[in-house]
């Protein structure tokens, strides 16, 4: 089973990655965004979360295909994102990454439209203020590269703990975010984007474990040939496993947290 880990070149040759590409109808490419989607899909699939009667809560879903894939497996999904005004403010609408309607969530037609209508609810939610009505209502939660945009490292940490409250006993949370490969001391911390250092992640994991949640994590960073390539703005490179954000090299980290 997958555990919490950094995006690695070797993962792209694993059967779970191919399976994920098939489910998402994505062609193979060395791209960390694709890795995140496949990682989230597999982490949930192998934990028996993707079948009817399971309820999932997605944060900052944008136009990512995961919502529709989960619905196509019969899961009942509450997909959430910023409201349009705030998304515009942060520039997500202009970059075409913000979902404006349910059609956006099923842009690739991965799910039968009637099934989408039955199983998917779209709501606007500020990830810094998760509504208490969600507490204890879901079998799984997920987000792909979202909680680094909450304003600060502290807010990111708080989100990770808060969203666990949405899970039922036995539920699982899978989130991916930015990980600083360059420094464990300095990092980027801006209103719109932060990069989490190893020590930030360690603090999060400690807090989660203190609260009784289970996390297994591997911080090994690969040194493969493609992992030596660092993409730079405007980030159109293939491979795109690592990228330059400010003066830091960043990659994705996936976190899998189990609620006992």
């Amino acid at each position: 089973m997958l555990i919490s880990k950094l995006c690695g070149e070797k993962d792209f040759l694993e059967p779970w990655f191919s399976r994920g590409c098939g489910e998402l109808r994505e062609s193979f490419r060395y791209h960390r965004k694709l890795w995140e989607w496949c990682y989230i899909f597999e982490a949930l699939r192998e934990r028996s979360m993707l079948y009817p009667f399971r309820r999932g809560l997605g944060f900052g879903v944008g136009k990512e295909p995961l919502t529709s894939v989960f619905a196509s497996h019969g899961c009942e999904i509450v997909a959430t994102d910023l409201d349009v005004a705030k998304a515009k403010e942060q520039g997500w609408v202009d970059t075409n990454q913000h979902a404006l309607n349910v059609a956006d969530l099923n842009e690739k037609g991965l799910c039968d439209p009637a099934l989408m209508e039955q199983l998917v609810t779209y709501e606007t939610v500020d990830m810094n203020r998760i509504p208490s009505r969600y507490h204890g209502k879901f079998d799984f939660t997920w987000s792909s590269c979202s909680f680094e945009h909450l304003g600060s490292i502290e807010k990111g940490k708080r989100f990770l703990l808060e969203q666990m409250k949405c899970l039922r006993s036995g539920g699982v949370a899978v989130h991916t975010t930015e990980y600083n490969l360059s420094s464990n001391e300095d990092t980027l911390e801006m209103e719109v984007l932060v990069i989490f250092r190893r020590k930030d992640i360690e603090e999060m994991v400690d807090s989660l474990r203190r609260d009784g949640y289970r996390v297994e994590i591997d911080y090994t960073a690969g040194n493969g040939q493609l992992e030596s390539v660092v993409d730079i703005p405007p980030f159109h490179f293939n491979p795109h496993l690592r990228l330059q954000l400010g003066q830091y090299v960043s990659t994705s980290i996936g976190l899998i947290i189990q609620k006992p």
């Binding site: 009817p52 497996h73 309607n101 009637a114 099934l115």
Partner: protein
């Protein structure tokens, strides 16, 4: 395989009840144990009316290419509230909506039929029977117990052969919870003494009142040592009644009425109970018995319905309608700890026998079985003489890889030897009388048609249940004559002509009857095969002719030839020319007889004989006999009846040195004898249009006589060449046989038929839907309009 589940139950209260849990566990076991198939989920929308529901379903089936559709709860309308039931009670799908998609259903019980007085009234009964009708029409029915199966067959008239008993398993989390330590649920519910536990409900079928009465009497005898914990939701009124009974008995604390208990606490209560008592009058499965056993709790339950079945010898069985029996057995158990221990151990073993993986495997195996396409073949047995009659049967064994093949024989029975061959093992022989009853269950029906009267039995079948036709003739006029005029039914003959020629049928009839028009000039097919989904012809020429008549989906198939070897044997040293029937025109054979005269005059060679083998059309035999007499060929030429069986036919072929097939091809269609000659390696002299030889090596396979040439001379030359030149005979024999083995095989014939079936099986494009999305006023995007195009 694409498998769809009907998820209506998931939108109703049933989701939280037994049906919901059962479906949930079954689906989970299937999906997690199997990666070969894809799963889809259908949520019917009843609010837009029956037509919209049909359209929604058919769109879903078509878009997702569904192979099997599984109805998880066939009585889904009964999960609705009374007011919703009134509104939607007509929203029952019909089997025909699913087309060729296989439909499976889970059947939990037929309790309303067992307790009809209690459950059915005039308002509900018709809806319930509509659901039963749908279940009957399903391809597979999964009963959750043998009791359900037997009662469904007995009370609902459901075909037991369609029912697979899959049983059930324990909830996946159950075993883990059963092994976990207690969290004090007993204290929470105010349980203060050792206790007997039951689950149930207010349904009289659960027999809770009898159990309480039995317990109160038992407890008095056992000095009020125990409490009875009734773990189920119950109305306040019922609670008051039961508490009153306990008070009257002098022990108001004897009953603990918990109300609804969550699963985790229910398991704790099971584990803590001295005895689990479940004397229900009737259960489709009786899961609580299994749950108690899995917790190691001894079980007392009914000796009826599925409870006896699932308990085996691991429970103490009582007569549920006898309060005394329940009480006696309860005393017996509670006063004998050794007996309780034995039941506990047996119960653990019994519970382990029921798993969801077993149930899901049975379901998936059944899906595999029902998803195979079903094919009915309607054809006559092969005639012993060379004829296209019954050729279709040669394809049947080659179609079993793709279809479940049922063969319905028309006309005479098939020779026994055909059934004994190994290749026919997987082909099912059915009685023609059963065809109409089963016809709708077939995905494809194949009919063989020709001019023989035995095809008349297929005419009404073809009209009611159209299919693909394998046609041995371009024109079925002979069949029309035999079935109408020869039976003195001019009116029927007119009908046949009218099907083909409409308003001009009168004129055609007059012309035919007056002799102004020859029968061969008036094609008659539409009356018989006008409704065919496709036609398989035996040659390119026949195929072209049918296309010219306006038929579509016509495929030319190679003539199938037997792969049997014939060992040649001389007939008293003679050189034998044979012309095999059927013969419909004597003049066509005159060139052979004419050529025989000079041939027999040759000296120094083997004696020459000529045989003309029947069957003969009316008057043909006499005309040929006259010709033989006229040419004084009585010693050399003979006319023979058609062979009575395949052995006699084989002997004639073995004694033949060269086959001479000069019959003109008209409406009679395929002439089979020339092809058989190729297959048997008998040198062949034939008219060019009698056999269609295409492909490499065909020129060396036979001596072909061009139709427009001087036939007499050419036939003489050909017969002379073969008679004189033995090496030419051998070469022709070798080449013919090699060519036939390459080209005219039953496998290639079956392939063409398979292609035809697949081509005809492709449904016309369904209408599609354009989905439109818009933003609602509250900012939540919604699908607001569905447009059908």
């Amino acid at each position: 395989m694409n498998i769809a589940f009907d998820m209506f139950f998931a939108r109703t209260e049933a989701r939280r009840r037994g049906i919901g849990r059962y479906s949930h566990n079954l689906m989970h076991a299937m999906i997690t144990s199997d990666t070969e198939h894809s799963y889809f989920y259908f949520y019917p929308d009843l609010t837009k009316g029956l037509a919209a529901l049909k359209q929604q379903l058919q769109q879903f089936l078509h878009r997702n290419r569904i192979d099997v559709y599984h109805i998880m709860s066939p009585f889904y309308l009964f999960h609705l509230s009374p007011s919703q039931f009134e509104t939607y009670k007509n929203m029952m799908p019909e089997r025909s909506w699913f087309g060729t998609v296989r439909v499976a259903v889970t059947l939990y019980d037929v309790i309303p039929l067992v307790y009809e007085q209690q459950f059915l009234n005039d308002r509900i009964r018709p809806v319930y029977w509509e659901a039963i009708k749908l279940i009957r029409s399903c391809d597979a029915i999964f009963a959750i117990s043998e009791t359900t199966k037997q009662d469904a067959a007995r009370l609902a008239g459901i075909d037991p052969d369609k029912i697979t008993v899959i049983m059930a398993g324990l909830d996946p989390g159950f075993e883990a919870a059963a092994a976990s330590p207690s969290k004090g649920a007993a204290n929470y519910y105010g349980i203060m003494r050792p206790y007997v536990m039951c689950t149930g409900g207010s349904d009289p079928r659960k027999n809770t009142a009898a159990l309480i009465d039995a317990f109160l009497s038992v407890n008095k005898r056992l000095k009020n040592t125990y409490q009875l914990v009734v773990a189920c939701s119950m109305s306040e009124e019922e609670k008051a009644i039961y508490r009153g009974r306990a008070s009257v008995g002098g022990d108001p604390n004897a009953l603990v009425l918990t109300g609804y208990v969550p699963d985790s606490e229910l398991i704790e209560l099971y584990k803590g109970a001295k005895l689990f008592a479940f004397p229900s009058l009737y259960e489709g499965f009786g899961l609580p018995v299994l749950e108690a056993m899995a917790c190691g709790t001894p079980v007392l339950t009914s000796n009826s319905s599925s409870l006896r079945e699932i308990s085996g010898d691991a429970a103490c069985l009582v007569h549920p309608e006898s309060t005394e029996d329940i009480a006696e057995k309860m005393v017996l158990l509670l006063s004998q700890p050794e007996l309780l221990k034995k039941l506990s151990q047996r119960g653990l073993k019994q519970a382990a026998r029921f798993t969801w993986s077993k149930a899901s495997r049975l379901v998936l195996d059944t899906y595999e079985a029902i998803v195979r396409r079903k094919l009915a073949v309607v054809a006559p047995a092969a005639a012993p003489y060379p004829s296209p009659i019954g050729l279709l049967l040669q394809a049947a064994p080659y179609l079993v890889n793709d279809f479940d093949v049922d063969v319905y024989m028309i006309g005479e029975n098939a020779p026994a030897e055909r059934d004994e061959t190994e290749e026919w093992e997987d082909v099912r022989r059915c009685e023609l009388g059963q065809f109409e009853q089963r016809a709708l269950s077939y995905d494809h029906i194949l009919y063989e048609f020709g001019n023989d009267t035995r095809y008349l039995a297929a005419v009404p079948l073809m009209r009611r249940f159209p299919g693909v036709v394998v046609l041995g003739s371009n024109d079925l006029h002979d069949l029309a004559i035999k079935s109408t005029l020869e039976r003195n039914r001019l009116d029927l003959y007119y009908q046949v002509l009218e099907s083909e020629y409409g308003r001009t049928a009168h004129q055609r009839l007059d012309d035919l009857l007056s002799g102004r028009t020859k029968r061969s000039e008036v094609t008659v097919n539409r009356h018989y095969i006008g409704g065919a989904y496709g036609i398989v012809a035996y040659s390119e020429a026949q195929s072209r002719s049918l296309l010219a008549q306006g038929y579509r989906n016509v495929i030319a198939a190679p003539v199938p030839l037997p792969e049997t070897e014939l060992t040649r044997c001389d007939h008293r040293g003679d050189f034998v020319f044979t012309s095999f029937g059927p013969h419909s025109n004597a003049e066509d054979l005159f060139p052979m007889l004419d050529a025989l005269k000079p041939l027999i005059g040759l000296s120094g060679r083997r004696p020459i004989k000529c045989r003309i083998v029947g069957p003969f059309a009316e008057g043909v035999e006499e005309r040929l006999a006259d010709r033989i007499r006229l040419l004084s060929l009585a010693g050399s030429a003979e006319l023979r009846e058609a062979p009575a069986d395949s052995q006699a036919a084989a002997l004639l072929w073995k004694q033949t040195n060269a086959a001479v097939q000069l019959e003109q091809i008209s409406g009679s269609g395929l002439s089979y004898a020339p092809y058989l000659a190729l297959s048997y390696g008998v040198p062949l002299i034939a008219r060019e249009n009698v056999v269609e030889l295409n492909g490499p090596g065909e020129r060396m396979a036979a001596y072909l006589i061009r139709d427009d040439a001087n036939n007499d001379t050419l036939v003489l030359n050909a017969m002379l060449s073969l008679y004189r030149n033995e090496s030419l005979c051998q070469e022709l024999s070798r080449e013919a046989q090699a060519y036939a083995r390459r080209t005219f095989t039953p496998a290639a014939y079956a392939d063409a038929i398979r292609q035809s079936l697949v081509r005809m099986g492709i449904a016309a494009p369904e209408r599609s839907v354009v989905w439109q999305f818009s933003m609602a006023q509250n900012g939540v995007p919604r699908i607001t309009k569905i447009q059908t195009v």
